[in-house]
Each structure stands twice: as C-alpha cells, then as structure tokens.
Point group: C2
Chain length 345, copies 2
C-alpha cells in the first residue's frame, strides 16, 4: 500500500518515555499481569492513540507465526448465492473472533486447488475451510493433509477430516412434516430423484422423506426423475399431469424444480396451495420470489460457514450435521386459509 512508514511500537514507547517492552505488554493488555503502574499504562495508551498506532501484523506474524486469518477454498464462490452465503457466515464469525478470511475459488481445477492451498499455507492461515457447492464426497489436495482443515458440504473419501454438512436426512423428514402439519394428506409425488451419484443430498433427502412418510401414514405415489432444473421439472410434472390424476402434494428436491412445477401446475389449471401443496429444498431467494411463496427446507449455508470457523478455532463441535430449518411460505398454507407462521426476511 502506498502509505508512508507507519508508526511503530518503538515510536509509541519513545513518546511515552518507556521501553518497548513495557509498551508491548501494555498494548497487549498484559500490564496487569506484569504489574505495570496504572499511570504508565495510561501514558502509553494515550501515546498509542495520539499516534494512532496499529501493530504491524507482518512483524507479529513472523514472531508468533500466527496470522488471525482463515482460508476458504471453494469450487465456486460465484454460482448462485449459495457459496457466498456460506462465505458471509464465515466472514462474520471470523470477524467476531478477530480474524479475517482469505478466499480462493478453484472452479473445480485440481491444479488451482493445490496452488491455493500452498498460497494460503505460505500466508500461515490458522486453518482452511474446504467447501463444495454441491454436497459430495471428495479427495482433498495432498497439501491439506495434516493441516487444520474442515470440510464444508462435503466429506473426504478416505481420511478422517472433520466435516460439516446439512442434515439432509432430517431435512427430508421436515419437508414431509411441513406438508402434514398444514393438514394435507393424499398422494405425494417427489420431483427430482437422484440423478447424480456424487451428490449426496438427493439420496439422503429421499430417505428422510420416505421414513417420515411412513411414520405419519402417508405414502409416496411416485418419484419423478428429472434433472434439478426448471425446464426438466416443468416437463416432468406436465407429463405427469397429462397421464395421471393430479397429486395432492409435491415435494420438489430443490427450489428450481419447484419453479418448473409451479408452471406446469398453473398451466393445468391447478392452484397452489388450494389444489396442490408444494414443499421444496434450498430456501434460496427464489423461494421468496415465487407466487405463492414457497415453503422450502433451507440449506443453512451461513450457519455452515460460521460453524466451520468455530470448528477451526475451537475444535470440532459435537454435532457435525447442521439442522435444515423450514422456511415457511404460502405453498403449504392449509386450504382453510391458516396463515403461515413465519415469513422470510
């Protein structure tokens, strides 16, 4: 940075007429412990303020080999607002703990990944958050082994690295509960299925859905397999409607699927939630934009980011699966008109 020479600890000490030792102790809140006179302490504090002294991090880092910095490596920080929410949560938690975040995006490239790991280790980050956009099993870059790492939204295939994930199974159960709590029964179709084997979310959500359905005595009329995107979902639901008696409820495996489903339902003259109730997963902005607003089981991205920082700084938590809260919209409002109990912010 183009700034001139900054004031150093020595400057402060000189101005206060004490040694750098004393100044150092005082400015690091150890004057008590070192039994430095209150008067001296105050004098140094004043001098520091007058000179608007700020410690030189590089020097401190070199000395203490710790930087109050946490690295985040993610395959995509750009895609959707998902990864960014996570970074946001992590950044806030880090700041509260007096840390800063350095971020790197790999775009899935292994070489970039390894490079970023090295760059961050060079900068002596206190720990590294390794995150993926879609929940998956991964092989982490070799440079990460033996470091203070936490995996986010993924697990490593072979090793025993601490990993934080949304509790997709419970999330699946929550989705079904949301449907039945709103008083709806009858035929439920799941839209989305398990297309990608490397993505864990689909399977776990489906398991949770089935388990909870069994508990409440509901049953799954069927699963519409389709790519997790708007148009495929639209087509799948459209075809379903032309073949069969319409479902009473739809569980969409993400919000974009729900968007497509909405279109198909509307085209078929079916209203949400009066004719068909819809619940979905993600809790993205889209859920709030749709009309009626979508009830969606939210992926706790910000919470994951914050928990990752905590894990790095204070050790792993007991629960490594984070709850997926229900974001209530109007797509599950009971036909009687009971208003939803919560609104999105």
């Amino acid at each position: 940075m183009r700034g001139r020479r900054r004031t150093t600890l020595a400057d402060v000490a000189a101005r206060a007429g004490v040694s750098v030792t004393s100044a150092s102790y005082i400015l690091n809140s150890r004057s008590e412990e070192m039994r430095i006179s209150a008067e001296t302490t105050e004098r140094v504090r004043l001098a520091a303020r007058e000179l608007s002294y700020r410690p030189n991090r590089s020097a401190r880092n070199l000395r203490s080999s710790s930087t109050a910095t946490i690295g985040v490596i993610s395959d995509h920080v750009a895609s959707g607002s998902f990864a960014s929410r996570m970074i946001s949560g992590a950044a806030t938690a880090a700041r509260v703990a007096g840390h800063l975040l350095v971020v790197g995006e790999t775009e899935g490239d292994r070489e970039t990944e390894a490079l970023l790991v090295e760059e961050m280790l060079d900068r002596q980050v206190e720990g590294i958050i390794y995150a993926t956009l879609v929940a998956s099993a991964v092989t982490v870059p070799a440079g990460l082994r033996g470091q203070n790492v936490v995996l986010l939204n993924c697990v490593d295939l072979d090793g025993q690295l601490p990993a934080l994930m949304p509790d997709e199974y419970e999330g699946g159960r929550t989705a079904v509960s949301a449907l039945f709590d709103a008083g709806h029964r009858g035929r439920v179709w799941a839209v989305g299925g398990e297309t990608d084997l490397s993505a864990l979310a689909g399977g776990l959500r489906m398991q949770g859905i089935l388990a909870r359905l069994q508990e409440v005595g509901g049953l799954l009329a069927g699963v519409l397999d389709c790519e997790w995107a708007v148009v495929p979902a639209y087509e799948a639901v459209r075809d379903l409607l032309s073949d069969q008696e319409p479902p009473e409820s739809l569980i969409c495996l993400n919000d974009r699927i729900a968007m497509g489903a909405y279109d198909a339902l509307r085209e078929h003259g079916l209203r949400v939630p009066e004719d068909v109730t819809v619940v979905s997963f993600d809790g993205s902005d889209l859920a709030g934009w749709l009309r009626p607003s979508l009830t969606s089981v939210r992926i706790p991205f910000a919470e994951l980011g914050a928990a990752a920082v905590t894990t790095l700084l204070d050790g792993p938590p007991d629960r490594r699966l984070l709850p997926m809260p229900l974001l209530r919209g109007h797509s599950t409002a009971s036909v009687a008109g009971r208003p939803p109990t919560g609104r999105r912010p």
Copy 2:
C-alpha cells in the same frame, strides 16, 4: 497452522552448500542478473524441491512490506449472487497476478467498515476494493483516504477516488436496441421507475432508454413506478393490463420485475414473446430460469471485479464504465420465430 517448523531458506542454502544470499537470488529468479553459475542455480533449485521449500510470506512481508494480497470490502457478499460474482472475477484476476483476496462484509455498518479497513491495512494489503451491492454514491471510511483504493459499483461523494461502474446509460440503450432489433415496434412501457434516489442505476437506465427510443423513432407509452421486486411488479403490470390496451413491449428495470411481469401477462392471457416482448436488466440466473428465458442487459459483475484488481495493480484504465452485455433469451425472439443468437451458459 498446526504444522511443524517449515523448512527455511537457510535450510535450502545449507543443503545446497551455498549462502542464503545466493539461495535467495536464485529462488527469486535473479540468478541470471546476479550471474550465478548454472550449476549452482540448479543445485539450489534441486535442494529447494527436495525439501519442498516454500518461502515464509510473513517474513517476506515484513522485509518488503508487500503481501501479494488485495482486500475487498463489500456491504453484502451474501445477497443474491451479485457480489459473489464480483468477488469471483476479482479472485481469478488476483490469482493470475499471483495475489490472494481477503474479503470482509460490512452489512452496511460504518463501524464494521472502519474496523475492516484497519484490519486490512494492518495486514498490508496492496490495495482495497470498496464495493457496494447497488450502484450508489457513498462516503468512504476515513481510513481509506490516501490508500490504494478503487470503488466498485459506486462513486464517492466528495473525493476523487477511482471508480468502476457498469455503463448503465449505454445499457438502457442496449435494452431498446434489443427490442427493435428483434423487429418489434409499438407501445413500450418501462416497469420499475426510479424509486431510490441513492441508487444510480434506475435513472441512468431510463435516460439511455429514452435516448435510444428517440433515435429509433419509438416512444415510451409510460412508466410504471414500482418497487424493484416480484410482487409489486406483478401488481403494477396487472393494473396496467386491466386499464389499458396491452403494451407491445415491456422494459423491466431488473429481472425480478420481469418475473412479476411474466405472471401478470400470463394471467391476462398474453404470451411472451408472441404478444408482448420483454427485455430486462441484471442478467441474473433468474433470467435463465424463467420461461421463456429472459433477454436481459447483464451487469458485468465478474468483469468489474477483475477490472478492479487490474486497476489496483496497474493503475486505472481509460474506460471507467464497463459495457453491459446483452444476454439474449427468448423473450425478445421475433414473432416470426427467429431463434436468439446466443445462449446463456
């Protein structure tokens, strides 16, 4: 990081049987300049590789007071995928230049902002990108004055800090051109208006729209003032349709407005693009999710981020307004069925 002591330059020098000076020169690719024998050079390189030596950045920073790190301060990295796209662009550009990004989110809080500035200056970042989610005029924190700063998506009220922004005026012109290039004429309504005075985008887009409209001999049937969100837009367009003869074209001031407009149009039995063509601003993911896909004047977030890094590292560019590219969807396809020329990725 919990790693053991890392190998130092001295270790490498010792193993290669040379002085640290030579090792330093060689590893910094200055052996040529220092006329060090090829043989020695090779020996040192080998030793470094064998010990998998990596320079200690903190030490280097302290010595050279430069960190190969750039700070990004933004009011919201979480909201939408906007800020994150920008960060993504910046991160990539930074990495190419051998730099890393440290990011901080202020949530609009002045105190946090000032704190982050200090934290980053403490870490001796090479420069700071100060970005806002919505284009606006701001007062930057005092700590930023005199530093290597570039404003992104905003301008400072009083000072002369370099600022990079999307060319909203040209963008407005582009939107109109998109409409007329697709062969559409007739009544054009703008939806959105200028609600927020601190947000620059609305006014500039409208100016561009009016100017271009005049050039091509079109005219604005009217402006629907509404909040830039789905429901208000839906209501505004619905009311318009119930009062008036339907418009031939709609220029929506952002993608969410277009989403609401789509709903109102569909409800009224009007098809896009057959009955009404729609063009919009943002070029967000939503534009691709809507059916038919939306033609939208894209905010070049990634490009802004990349340009900001370049500005910080190499000085300000000539053009401080970045072009807003047209993202072609089907909402402006000519009625004759001409396919759009480009697809979103």
